[in-house]
Symmetry: C3
Subunit: 358 residues, 3 copies
C-alpha cells in the first residue's frame, strides 16, 4: 500500500496501529464474529472502503444498498449491524454492533486520531496583556490574542486566528486558521473551522434623518461545549442579550446566525442555512441546507426543517416542514403533485387552466 493511498494519505493524516481485532472490537463496542475461513491474529493497519480494502484493512457496511459489495470485499474485517451478521464473508472477521456508523467513527479515530495540540506559542504570534493561557496550549504563527483572553488546557489556536479582547475559550478546543472571534464565551471541546466569524455586530440600525444609524450591539456570543462551527460561517453577537449555540450543536459551512438567536442542545444546521435574529430553536432541531428562518420565531424540539425551506412562523416540536413558505412534508409533496397534474397537458395549457379555474 502506497503511503499516498486513500483513505488516510500519510501526507495528511497521522496513522496509529497496527491493532488486533480485539482492540478494534473494544473501540467499536462490537461482538467479534469470525468467518469460517478467517485467519487468526491478523494485525489491522488501516480503514478502507469495501471495494479497496485488503486483508489488513477494516471496512464498514451500514447501508443495505451496498450489501453486494460485502460479498466481494477482500477486507480482513468489517464493521456491520446485526442485520448483516449472517453475511460476513468466510475470510473476514465481522465486528457486529448496534450502531455501526458510530462504531466506524470510533475505529477510524483509533487509526487516525485528531492531532493533539503542539504546546507552545509561535514566536510570531502577538499576545496581549493579562491573558491566561494554559501551558499546553498551541498558538500558531501570526495568531493575534487580545488582552485578558483566557484559553484552557489542550486548546489549539491555528495560524492567523484573531481572538478579541476578553474572549474566553475552554479546554481542548480547535480554532481554525483565519478565524475571527470577539465578544465571545466559548466552552470546551469546541471546533471553529477556518474563516468562521464569531461575535461581530448584528444587523441592527434605526432610520435617522440622514440615513441609517447603527444600534449598539451589546450582547455576546455564547458557544457551549462540544459545538462545531463550519468554515466561513458567521455568528453575530446579541444586541441586548446573548446569541447562544447550545451544547453539542453542529453548524456547517457558510451558515448565518443572527443576533440574539438561541439554539438548544445538539441542533444541526446544514450549509448555507440562515437563522434570523432572535429566533429560538429547541433541542435536536435539524435545519437542512439553504433553509431560512425569519426572526422572532420558535422552533420546537426535534423539529426538522427541509432544504431551502422558508420558515415564516413557529414550528411545533417534532414537526417536519419544507417549502417556502414552510408546510408539512406531506402537504408540500401533495401540492407539487396536484400542480403538476393541473399543468400537465402541454398541447393546450391555457384551456386546461381555464377549466381548472372553473
Amino acid at each position: 500500500m502506497s503511503d499516498h493511498s486513500l483513505p488516510g494519505d500519510a501526507r495528511f493524516f497521522t496513522r496509529m496501529g497496527p491493532f488486533p481485532a480485539s482492540r478494534l472490537a473494544e473501540a467499536a463496542d462490537a461482538e467479534i464474529v469470525a468467518g469460517s475461513a478467517a485467519p487468526v491474529d491478523v494485525l489491522f493497519r488501516g480503514v478502507a472502503p469495501l471495494q479497496s480494502a485488503t486483508a489488513q484493512d477494516i471496512s464498514f457496511l451500514d447501508n443495505r444498498r451496498y450489501l453486494p459489495l460485502l460479498g466481494e470485499t477482500r477486507a480482513g474485517a468489517v464493521v456491520l449491524g446485526q442485520a448483516f451478521r449472517d453475511q460476513i464473508p468466510p475470510h473476514a472477521i465481522g465486528l457486529v454492533c448496534k450502531s455501526p456508523y458510530l462504531a466506524w467513527a470510533r475505529v477510524a479515530s483509533l487509526f487516525h486520531p485528531v492531532t493533539p495540540a503542539r504546546p507552545g506559542i509561535h514566536p510570531s504570534a502577538v499576545v496581549g496583556a493579562d491573558v491566561s493561557i494554559a501551558p499546553d496550549v498551541e498558538v500558531g504563527p501570526f495568531a493575534v490574542i487580545g488582552d485578558r483572553v483566557v484559553i484552557g488546557a489542550g486548546t489549539a489556536i491555528s495560524a492567523h486566528a484573531v481572538i478579541g479582547d476578553g474572549v474566553r475559550i475552554g479546554e481542548r478546543c480547535r480554532i481554525g486558521a483565519h478565524v475571527a472571534a470577539s465578544h465571545a464565551l466559548i466552552g470546551h471541546r469546541v471546533t471553529l473551522y477556518s474563516g468562521a466569524r464569531i461575535g461581530q455586530d448584528g444587523f441592527g440600525f434605526a432610520v435617522g434623518p440622514a440615513g441609517f444609524e447603527s444600534v449598539p450591539q451589546l450582547g455576546r456570543v455564547v458557544i457551549e461545549d462540544d459545538v462545531e462551527i463550519g468554515a466561513n460561517a458567521t455568528i453575530d453577537r446579541g444586541s441586548m442579550r446573548d446569541t447562544v449555540i447550545g451544547a453539542g450543536s453542529r453548524i456547517d459551512n457558510l451558515v448565518q446566525i443572527g443576533h440574539n438567536a438561541q439554539l438548544g442542545r445538539c441542533c444541526i444546521v446544514v450549509s448555507q442555512a440562515g437563522i434570523s435574529g432572535s429566533t429560538e430553536l429547541g433541542d435536536y432541531v435539524t435545519i437542512a441546507a439553504q433553509a431560512g428562518l425569519i426572526g422572532h420565531i420558535k422552533i420546537g424540539d426535534k423539529a426538522r426543517i427541509g432544504a431551502q425551506c422558508g420558515v415564516m412562523s413557529d414550528v411545533e416540536a417534532g414537526a417536519d416542514v419544507i417549502g417556502s413558505p414552510a408546510m408539512p412534508f406531506r402537504e408540500f409533496f401533495r401540492n407539487v403533485a396536484v400542480l403538476r397534474k393541473l399543468a400537465r397537458r402541454p398541447d393546450k395549457p391555457s384551456s386546461e387552466a381555464d377549466k381548472a379555474a372553473g
Copy 2:
C-alpha cells in the same frame, strides 16, 4: 451589578457615564415625563431590557407586544413613544419621543460608544511604498498595506487586513480583521466586517477551444460614504465599469454582489442574498435574506424583495415582491392559499387533483 452582566459586559464593551436624565433626553431628542413617584437627580449607569433593568438603568419600549413588561419593570427610565406616555410607571422617568428606536440607538451609544481608532501602525504590519496614511490611523498586527494606498484620518485597519495596491480608504472607516480589499475606492465612515472580500475578479469567462478563458475584469469597486458590508460578504469588481455600493447602504453577512452591479443610496441587502452582475438597484431598495436577483435587471426605488425571492425581471419602484419567480406579495400568498385548498383532502388526493384538472 457584575462587570460581566449584560448588556455591555465590561470585558467587551467600553462604558461611559453615569449620566443624568437631562443628558439622556438630549441624546434621545426626547421629552422628560416623570412618573408620580420618580426620584430626582438619579444618575443612570447603563442600558438594560425592561425585565432586568434596575433603578440606575434606562430601558426601552418600542413594540406594543412588550407593553406588559412596562408595568413590571424596575427601570429608572424608559425610552418610549407618545402612544405609551400615559403608561409610564410611577417610579420611572419616561423619555417620550417620536422615534424610540433611533432614540434608543443614541442613548445606548452614549453609554457604549464605538472605540475610537488607536493611532499607530503596529510594528508587524507591512506597508508598501508611496502610501498616504493620516497620522491618527490605526493599523493592526500583520496588516498588509499595498503600494500607493491612501487612508484617511481616524480610520482603523484591523489585524490581518490586506489592502491592495492603489486602494483609497476615506476617513473614520473601520476595516475588520481578515478583510481583503483590492481595486477599490472606499468613502468615509465605511465599515467592512471581518472576512469581507472586496474587488476580486468577477465571474466572467468566454468559451475557448480548450475550455473557459477569463475575461479581464477592468473595473473597480466604489463604496460610497456610510456603507457597511457584512462579515464574509463578497463584492466583485466591475468588468468594464464599476461595481457601486451607494451611500448609506447596509449589506449583511455572506451577501454576494456581482460585477458591475449598481446599488443606490440606503439600500438594505440582508444575509445570504445575491445580486448578479450588472443589475441596478435604485435608492432605498430592500433585499431580504437569501433572495437572488439575476443579472442585467433594474429594481426601482423603495422596492422590497422578500426573503428567498427569485427575481428574474425588472421590479417597479415601490413594489413588494416575493416568491420564485418573484410576484407581488398578495399574489404570492393567494397562490399559496389556492394551492393548499386544491391539495387539501388527504384521503383522496388523486381524485381531487383529477377534478381540479377538469
Copy 3:
C-alpha cells in the same frame, strides 16, 4: 485620458501597448474590415465600452441589444461578429470574428495581462520543513507554508495564505489572500480567490450516547488543472474517497461543495450554490446561483440547473431543470402560469378556489 479612467485604472491594472490593428487582429483571430474613412496606422492604447471609447481605443459588440451604440461610437476599432460586419462605422476598423466574446477576452488580456508572480519568499513568511518550492514562486507576507508542501514554477501565494502540511500546488497557480488549503492536491493554472477554504473536515458525525461524534474525514480535495474557486467558497475534503473538482471548472463566490462530491470537466457553479456530499456531476454541467443539490445524486453531462433550484434526484444529461423540487424548465413555467390563472381574480379568491377544487 486620465490614468484613473475606466476601464483599466492605472492604479490597479498594468497596461501594455500601444498596438497596431494587425496585432489586435492576430490576438482576436479576426479579419480586419476597415470602414471607408478609417485612418491607417493607428496605434491602439486601450479597451473601452462603445459609449466612451476614443479613436485610440478598441471596443466590442456582442449583443444585438447594443447595436444602436455601434452607430454612435467614436471607437477606432470594434470587435464584432459576422452578423454586424456591414454596420462598421466609416471611421472605425472592424475586427470581425466568429467568437467575439472570446476575441474580446484575448484583446483585453493583451492590453491588461495578469501580473506575473514576483519571485521570492517574503521574509515574514513562515515556511515549514522539507518543502519543495520552485525558484520563481512568489510567497507573500505572512503566508504560512506547512511541512513537505510542494509548489510548482510560476505560482504566486498571496499574503496571509495558509497552506497545510503535505499540500501540492502545481505551476502558474494564483492562491489569493487569506486562503486556507489543507489535505489538497492542486493542479496547474488553478486560481483560488481570497478567503476560499479548501480541505476542512466534511460535515460527518454519528449519534453517540452523549451527543454527536465526528467521523474522521480521511480523504482529500483534488483540484484539477485550470480550475477557479471563488472568494469565500468552501470545499470539504472527502471522507473515504476524494472530493474532486474537474479540470477547467469554474466555482463562484460563496459556493459550498460537500465531502466526496465529484465534478467533471468544465463545470460552472454560480455564486451561493451548494452541492451536498457524494453528489456527482458529469462534464459541462452548469449550476446557477443559489441552487442546491442533495447528496448522493448524479447530474448528467451538460445538464443545466436553474437558479435557486432544489435538486432531490438524478438529472439526465442535457436536461434543463429549475424549481424546488427541480423539474424541466417548461413544466416549471407552465406550473407558474396555471397557478397564477387559478388564483387570479382578486375580488373573490376563495370562491374561485372552491370552484377550482371542484
